[in-house]
């Protein structure tokens, strides 16, 4: 079999002579796992490729691009070997797509005219666009709702992947929560992110089934000091105090699973919590500027903590106003989420805004798709969210409608390695 691996930029314009005998490529999956052309090293341009391989998965500390397509899958096969084979196929397709190549080894337009193409084609001629693909394993992969050890993995479930408690006030919809596996696709072009998820879902047919998915835009966090802090749909800068890639020591302490944390297959990985947080936009917009700023604890324009001048001035929880009351109130969002109030716990956030059309009542169906990576949710997300759920004044304008928890394994280190290999070894 001829294996032509073309970058999408060059695929167009090649006379698409059908490659002989390609019709059954993909049947075995082995054909999906062709060799891999390393991409250009990640550059400064939004169209460049981000290296797929490395100690950690890309898409965690990578500078957050503007677009998200997040998907959670249920595993529908009972056959562990088929699941492993899928992870190998996915890894190969992810390596290719993040490098700007087609999902399959034949491509969107080079195959037999009688066969469906092994790439869906909507990213033809588009650059890599900073695409990252990040995989995670949910608690239900280890044991299902009935407590069954589905794939002989139950013993390997990390203690840190403990089911999240119920938080007061949440209104979770089970059909858009949870999942056995997740894939986060981030890119500077929404078409590239959607293309990646669509092709992974297709490769997975019969092994996994899409449980829910979410599109997002306008990153609400920065993960590098090089990036300006973006705004969420409340109109506030979000992610000012986020963990940053430059904080190497903090990342070891707060983000990456360290040797000895256990289980060993997670070393170099991180735990992901997703929350779809609907914002009650219309009532928020009728709220006075002063109250909005008080609820958040920052100035809406500059992003500076109340009582300070600049966005990156430290939050002073003790500062008082002329009336001797704290500038940052007891129920202000930034106070409740502050590390000083949570035993030093921090999160690496990389959430996105979402607008899912409207809800039929004349209101935008919009909000924040919150994404946070951390070393141990029991010591980070859970205590922080417990505080927020109980006391945050913003809760009047928020509804948590979906929740996800995933263990994201370490990076794929070299060709031949695959997503989650150490878990299945």
């Amino acid at each position: 079999m001829t294996e032509k691996r073309l970058s999408r930029r060059r695929a167009i314009g090649i006379a698409g002579a059908g490659v002989a005998g390609v019709g059954i490529a993909g049947v075995t999956g082995a054909a999906l796992r062709g060799a891999f052309d390393p991409p250009l090293s990640a550059g400064a341009s939004p169209s460049d490729a981000v290296d797929f391989h490395g100690e950690h998965q890309a898409g965690i500390t990578t500078e957050v691009p503007d677009r998200l397509h997040f998907v959670a899958f249920d595993v529908v096969t009972k056959d562990r070997a088929r699941l492993v084979e899928l992870l190998q196929d996915w890894t190969a397709a992810a390596a290719r797509m993040t490098a700007g190549q087609d999902a399959g080894v034949i491509g969107a337009v080079n195959g037999s005219p009688e066969a469906p193409p092994d790439d869906t084609g909507e990213a033809l001629s588009l650059p890599p666009s900073g695409l990252t693909l990040t995989v995670g394993f949910g608690p239900s992969l280890f044991r299902d709702a009935d407590g069954r050890d589905r794939f002989g993995l139950a013993e390997r479930r990390p203690a840190a992947l403990a089911d999240l408690p119920r938080f007061p006030g949440e209104a979770l919809r089970p059909e858009i929560s949870g999942g056995d596996l997740c894939v986060q696709a981030c890119a500077n072009d929404p078409q590239v992110a959607v293309h990646a998820i669509r092709n992974l879902a297709r490769i997975g047919m019969g092994v996994v089934s899409v449980r829910w998915s979410q599109l997002g835009f306008g990153r609400t966090s920065s993960t590098s000091r090089d990036q300006a802090t973006p705004r969420n749909l409340f109109g506030f800068k979000d992610g000012t105090a986020n963990l940053k890639i430059e904080d190497t020591a903090l990342l070891r302490e707060q983000l990456w699973v360290q040797p000895g944390d256990g289980p060993e297959w997670m070393t170099g990985g991180a735990y992901l919590v997703t929350r779809k947080i609907r914002m009650i936009i219309e009532t928020w917009d009728r709220t006075s500027l002063g109250e909005q700023e008080e609820l958040v604890g920052r100035a809406k324009g500059s992003g500076a903590p109340l009582g300070q001048h600049d966005e990156f001035d430290p939050i002073n929880l003790k500062a008082t106003g002329p009336d001797d009351r704290p500038r940052i109130t007891e129920t202000a969002h930034v106070r409740l989420a502050h590390p000083d109030q949570n035993n030093g716990a921090r999160l690496l956030r990389r959430g996105y805004n979402y607008v899912d059309g409207s809800d039929g009542l004349g209101r935008l169906d919009a909000g924040l798709f919150f994404i946070a990576y951390q070393r141990d949710p029991r010591r980070q997300f859970v205590p922080i969210q417990t505080q927020l759920a109980r006391h945050d004044g913003l809760n009047e304008y928020l509804r948590h409608v979906s929740s996800g928890l995933f263990a994201c394994p370490p990076g794929v280190r070299e060709p031949g390695d695959f997503w989650g290999r150490a878990l299945f070894d």
Binding site: V76, E114, M205, G206, S209
Partner: protein, 377 residues
């Protein structure tokens, strides 16, 4: 037309009357190699086949149904490839099946109530047969599928006649019971019917697909009247038109020569039908009998793949394995929703049930979409 490529012995020439349901099989005087018809005694619980070893060549089965349920009789090659069948053997009658069998092992099956795998028995055919060339294998596939289409169109004509009679005599309950049954034969060969673009909407068009100025006729018009108002007193002309349209399409379908690629694409299209129309409950929106259509589409897809099986086994054995397991998963998933001799109504299924069905269809449709390129090689 009968295929004689299978057999090394001198062919008896093309035979008329292929055990078509509906017209009573003609005994055209051809002598089968086994020297006389094999009696098949079918009841609701048994399927006694008079002889389980025969010589290669034309074999004639005489099927008598002494049960209370309508039955069918099949001769299957490996992978449930239909070598021959008679449909719609109603209680109390006999039907003949003439089938050309090269040496090999087969299974016979009676299907009382026309459901499931049927009551199976082994059949050994001895003699010599030459290996097939590639092109002969493809030709054999289309011949085999052609026989399938003819058996379905015969039964479609029978059951549509019964359905139309019930409508015209004002028998609402009878018509309602016959509606999903008659459609079964239609849905199994839907891609063939769709070749005749002008007839398809008249017979099977849903109200919203009709163009301005077209009258709403056919199965779904009668379905709407039966299930919404229950008033079919003025539907005589609609019923007559349905029957004459079905007669016309049956004649055309039996005359149509299909290519192996038609079969491959038909197998995929039948699953597309399921994925887009039956899973959603759009097809039978008044009666909610979508699962009858769903099952029939899958059976039709299976028949097309079974006809191609020798070619696929030769060229892409791994693909055959994944198709077999895909069909098995669909059958198991759909089988949960049986109700008596038929199926649960679409409205009785939960969202989770429908998602499971959708997943099973997607898992099968992906490998099925690869069949055409294998056939075209």
């Amino acid at each position: 037309m009968r295929t004689t490529r299978f057999v090394a012995l001198a062919a008896a020439g093309a035979l008329a009357g292929i055990g078509l349901a509906g017209c009573g099989a003609k005994d055209d005087g051809s002598k089968d190699a086994a020297g006389g018809a094999i009696a098949v005694k079918a009841t609701d619980t048994a399927c006694e086949v008079g002889s389980t070893t025969v010589g290669a060549g034309t074999v004639v089965f005489n099927v008598t149904n002494s049960g209370a349920k309508v039955t069918e009789f099949y001769v299957y090659a490996a992978g449930d490839r239909v070598m021959g069948e008679v449909e719609n053997v109603v209680p109390g009658i006999s039907r003949e099946l003439h089938v050309e069998l090269p040496a090999g092992t087969y299974e016979t099956a009676c299907k009382p109530g026309m459901i499931g795998k049927g009551i199976r028995g082994a059949l050994t055919v001895s003699g010599s047969s030459a290996p097939l060339t590639d092109n002969a294998a493809l030709a054999a596939a289309t011949d085999s599928y052609q026989r399938y289409v003819q058996s379905q169109t015969g039964a479609l004509l029978d059951k549509t006649t019964e359905f139309v009679t019930a409508v015209k005599t004002g028998d609402v309950a009878g018509a309602k019971a016959l509606f999903p049954v008659a459609r079964t034969y239609w849905e199994r060969i839907e891609p063939v019917a769709e070749i005749f673009g002008d007839l398809d909407p008249k017979i099977d068009g849903r109200e919203e697909v009709l163009e301005e100025g077209m009258e709403f006729t056919g199965f779904h018009r009668l379905e709407k009247d039966l299930w919404t108002t229950g008033d079919i007193s003025k539907d005589g002309p609609i019923a007559d038109r349905l029957l004459s349209d079905v007669k016309e399409i049956v004649a055309k379908a039996n005359a149509e020569r299909l290519s192996p690629l038609n079969l491959a694409n038909g197998a995929k299209e039948l699953l597309d039908e399921v994925a887009t129309g039956k899973i959603t409950g759009e097809e039978d929106r008044y009666s909610h009998t979508d699962l009858w259509d769903f099952n029939a589409n899958v059976e039709g897809s299976k028949a097309a793949i079974a006809a191609l099986r020798p070619v696929l086994t030769e060229r892409a054995p791994e693909l055959v394995t994944s198709l077999d397991s895909g069909f098995a998963t669909v059958d198991t998933t759909l089988g949960k929703h049986r109700a008596g001799d038929g199926w649960k109504l679409h409205t009785e299924l939960s969202q989770a049930d429908l998602k499971d069905l959708s997943d099973a269809i997607n898992a099968l449709a992906e490998p099925i979409s690869k069949v055409a390129a294998v056939v075209a090689k």
